[in-house]
Amino acid sequence: MTQRDPKRVSNLPVGNQCAPTRYLPSAALFSVCSCFVFAQASQVPDIFKPASTPADLIHRLSVFVLVITGLIFLVVFSLLVYAVGKFRHRASEDGREPPQVYGSNQMELAWTVVPVLIVLVLFFATARVIHSIQQAVPPSGTIRVTAIGHQFWWEFRYPALGVVTANELHVPVSDPARRTPTFVTLLSADTDHSFWVPQLAGKTDLIPNRVNSLWIEPHETGMYVGQCAQYCGTQHAKMLLRVYVESPEQFSRWIAAEEQPAHSADAVAAGRQVFEKTACINCHAISGTIADGRFGPDLTHLMSRETIAAGAASNTHESLKLWIHNPDSIKPGSLMPAMNLSDHDLEAVTAYLESLR
């Protein structure tokens, strides 16, 4: 812990913070690698910089639509500008009325038929992309993830792999020769949410009592940001989302690490005891302990994540402590209660959580 920058403020933006202080000697290898990659990754979730098949298909359609609408704009705009300039009433003219024209059937026919044809073209282009995205068949190498929206965080479960994590989704990059897209089943535990990582796919809502799905097939490694895109309550704004696209090797290492039960060290036994004796365990799960709550994020490998509170703060000692002490100071209206621990217990619990690599 000694290398951490003590001055880092808890709720600083976590945008560009793959700082070297994160390189803990004990950190898993992949997080070191990923920091190099992610430091270069764009943090602008630009829909015109797609990095995944569905986003790519949408991007191509959108360029097509933009070109057509752009041409329509140019034509109509030019007509308007011409009319405004050319037919302006001039003081020099006499007061007589201009020729009274009531209409023209030929003109009306022309500006009905041409738009109909344009609509048909746009419609077929659109229908094709709807089909290729919504009716895609998952190949055999597909990774399956269940995403569950909560007020105000994301639960990610890999049912086939027995891995549970939160807010930061890890997926492998897909090789066209050996495709490994990720199909995400979308559920909600409470209100409506929407899963949106613009560079990977369009958004799809998570609606209670309903099973939705989307898929991504990233072809570039990196970290992609997104956030909840359906108003879900007070802290809708800080329901951020990260997707780490990793090489197959990195991804398997991450899975292997996540499959391990929670790290248990005698040095932090005091903190663990506090954790297990307070209400923490009602909401949080740590595998291999009595903590099995599901209202809050699974903390088994908390330290493998770069952020806490659904991206509202970076995962540092100071912000973790502040978050436990007073969540409202980072995310007012979040459902995590202030635990009112003594300074000693707070320090102990923080140390315990920091041992969960």
Binding site: P13, L66, L80, P99, Q134, G202, K203, I207
Partner: protein, 557 residues
């Protein structure tokens, strides 16, 4: 033009005792007075909705700002949307309809004057009820007073579990009450237009404004009814333990979305059709030509009315409809672009070959054509369902619908306000101030809403009280907020112009624009009985026929 002695009511009223004036306005059933009340009421709420928007924009001027709390921000966008749609746009359009329709069709009042007053007061009390929530309700987790569930109030956020207290109930009741008011107003408009036209005014000879209001009235009946039904269901959920939308008891969140948007999309046309009507009256007069393609304009209006009933689920492309559902609603949405495009071309055709006079109303209408063109084109982008999966619920959508609601609807409303101000008050507005208002508003509008498309494309969702720096959104949000201040100054110029001209403006005479529809044949402001003699018309431009007996319109129609 004959200039008759003019009754300067605004000044006269001041000399009467206040209680008498108040009593006469509260008990009035006169269509002109009710129209005026609607308009003043809407302008009052426009100021309130504008203040709410300004506070939100100050909060978003920089990332991680702390100007307002998240709870207050969520209330602000809920109240802003609800206010602007239900208590600004609808009432102001009903106000113009009320005031102008009888005058344009040569009638002495609306078909049901007492229903008219009843409808206005329902709408008025609806708005007051909504704002009473700041005192009487409390919201999510007891977070605050006003409703904070968003203006489309998606289930299950409105369920008792998530919205404790009464803020959501204030929202529901306010919309129920004003909804009945809207239905009453629509019934009245339809009955008036169908039954009260003066001799000679066949449906095909009505001013286009009357046609647009007729279709609008029909849409109100079809659209407000499901909204009202949904509000009743929501109240049953909240008070009697019904489970229509309560997902925790097996209800359906998507059902609410369908109910809301089968109201919500036709509602857009409820608002925009009367504005098409304004443009179709103002552009011909200031181009000195009749409207181009009148029958086609009518046909386009009616077909927009029909098609608008089958496009609602394009607001729901992201809720996981089947590929077939998405394809269907993409098609219907694109189809509506055709009659809308026809209208734009017909306005251009009207201007083509005319002698354009750029008085303030015309300036607003030309800007309307330009902005409505862009709004229509971004609408086409949103109708392409996969593109919508990216753009939906982002700032791009916010920019798109403000382009419609401000760039098209509010601009034509300002145009209409300037155009009929002389008729309503008997005095001319100040042209210089009018133009200043126009240019400041154009600058502010484009600074705010042009640049609002960009953060949407860069992944910024709507309804967030703050955002992360480093995502390329900062500069755009700054520009957007700067534009708001131009709009505020412009609006203050407008208010000043109205107040000043009401008392100090030049007398307007009957017909300051040399216009062609019946309202310009009577004194300004119109006497209580409107028409001393019920007019008889032979064409769509009765005053043209009077002014040009050598070349009357009815020879060509």
């Amino acid at each position: 033009m004959s200039s008759e002695p003019i009754a300067l009511t605004a000044v006269e009223e001041l000399s009467r005792p206040f209680s008498e004036v108040l009593y006469s306005w509260v008990t009035t059933v006169d269509h002109k007075r009710l129209g005026t009340l609607y308009i003043l009421y809407a302008i009052f709420f426009l100021m309130i909705g504008g203040i709410e928007a300004t506070i939100m924009r100050i909060q978003l001027i920089v990332p991680h700002n702390h100007f307002v709390s998240p709870q207050l921000f969520n209330q602000l966008f809920t109240m802003h949307g609800t206010t602007m749609i239900f208590f600004v746009a609808m009432p102001i359009l009903f106000g113009f309809g009320n005031y102008l329709i009888p005058l344009m069709i040569g009638a002495r009042d609306m078909a049901f004057p007492r229903l008219n007053a009843f409808s206005f007061w329902l709408t008025a009390f609806g708005g007051l009820l909504l704002y009473f929530s700041f005192v009487g309700g409390y919201g999510l987790y007891g977070a605050g007073a006003a409703p904070d569930v968003g203006w489309f109030a998606y289930a299950p956020l409105t369920a008792r579990t998530f919205s404790i207290g009464h803020s959501t109930d204030f929202w529901t009741m306010a919309l129920l009450v004003s909804g009945f008011g809207s239905i009453g107003a629509a019934v009245n408009l339809i009955a008036t237009i169908v039954c009260m036209r003066c001799p000679g005014m066949a449906l095909g000879k009505m001013p286009l404004f009357a046609w647009m209001n007729l279709v609008m009235g029909g849409l109100v009946l079809l659209a407000i009814s499901p909204l009202t039904a949904a509000q009743v269901m929501l109240s049953l959920d909240r008070f009697l333990g019904a489970h229509f939308f309560d997902t925790q008891a097996g209800g359906s969140a998507v059902l609410w979305m369908h109910f809301f948007w089968i109201f919500g999309h036709p509602e857009v046309y409820v608002l925009v059709l009367p504005c098409f009507g304004f443009a179709s009256e103002i552009i011909p007069v200031f181009s000195r030509k009749p409207i181009f393609g009148y029958p086609i304009m009518v046909a386009a209006t009616v077909s927009i009315g029909f098609v608008s009933m089958s496009v609602w689920a394009h607001h729901m492309f992201t809720v996981g409809m089947s590929a077939y559902g998405n394809t269907f609603f993409a098609l219907t949405t694109m189809v509506i672009a055709v009659p809308t495009g026809i209208k734009i071309f017909n306005w251009l055709g009207t201007m083509w070959g005319g002698k354009l006079q750029f008085k303030t109303p015309m300036l607003f209408c030309v800007a309307f054509i330009f902005q409505f063109l862009i709004a229509g084109l971004t609408g086409i982008m949103l109708s392409a369902a996969p593109f919508n999966w990216q753009l939906s619920n982002s700032y791009f959508v916010v920019a798109h619908f403000h382009y419609v609601i401000v760039g098209a609807i509010l601009f034509t409303i300002f145009g209409a306000f300037y155009y009929w101000f002389p008729k309503m008050t008997g005095r001319l507005y100040n042209e210089k101030l009018g133009k200043l208002h126009f240019w400041l508003f154009v600058i502010g509008f484009h600074l705010t809403f042009d640049f609002m498309h960009v953060p949407g494309v860069l992944g910024m969702p709507r309804r967030i009280y703050t955002y992360e720096p480093g995502r390329g959104w900062d500069i755009w949000n700054l520009i957007i907020t700067v534009g708001v201040f131009f709009q505020i100054i412009a609006t203050l110029v407008f208010i000043w112009n109205v107040v000043y001209s009401m008392f100090k403006g030049q007398p307007a005479g009957n017909d300051p624009w040399d216009a062609w529809t019946l309202e310009w044949s009577i004194p300004s402001p119109p006497p209580e009985y409107d028409f001393a003699r019920i007019p008889v018309v032979r064409s769509r431009r009765p005053l043209w026929d009077l002014k040009h007996p050598e070349d009357p319109d009815w020879q060509y129609e």
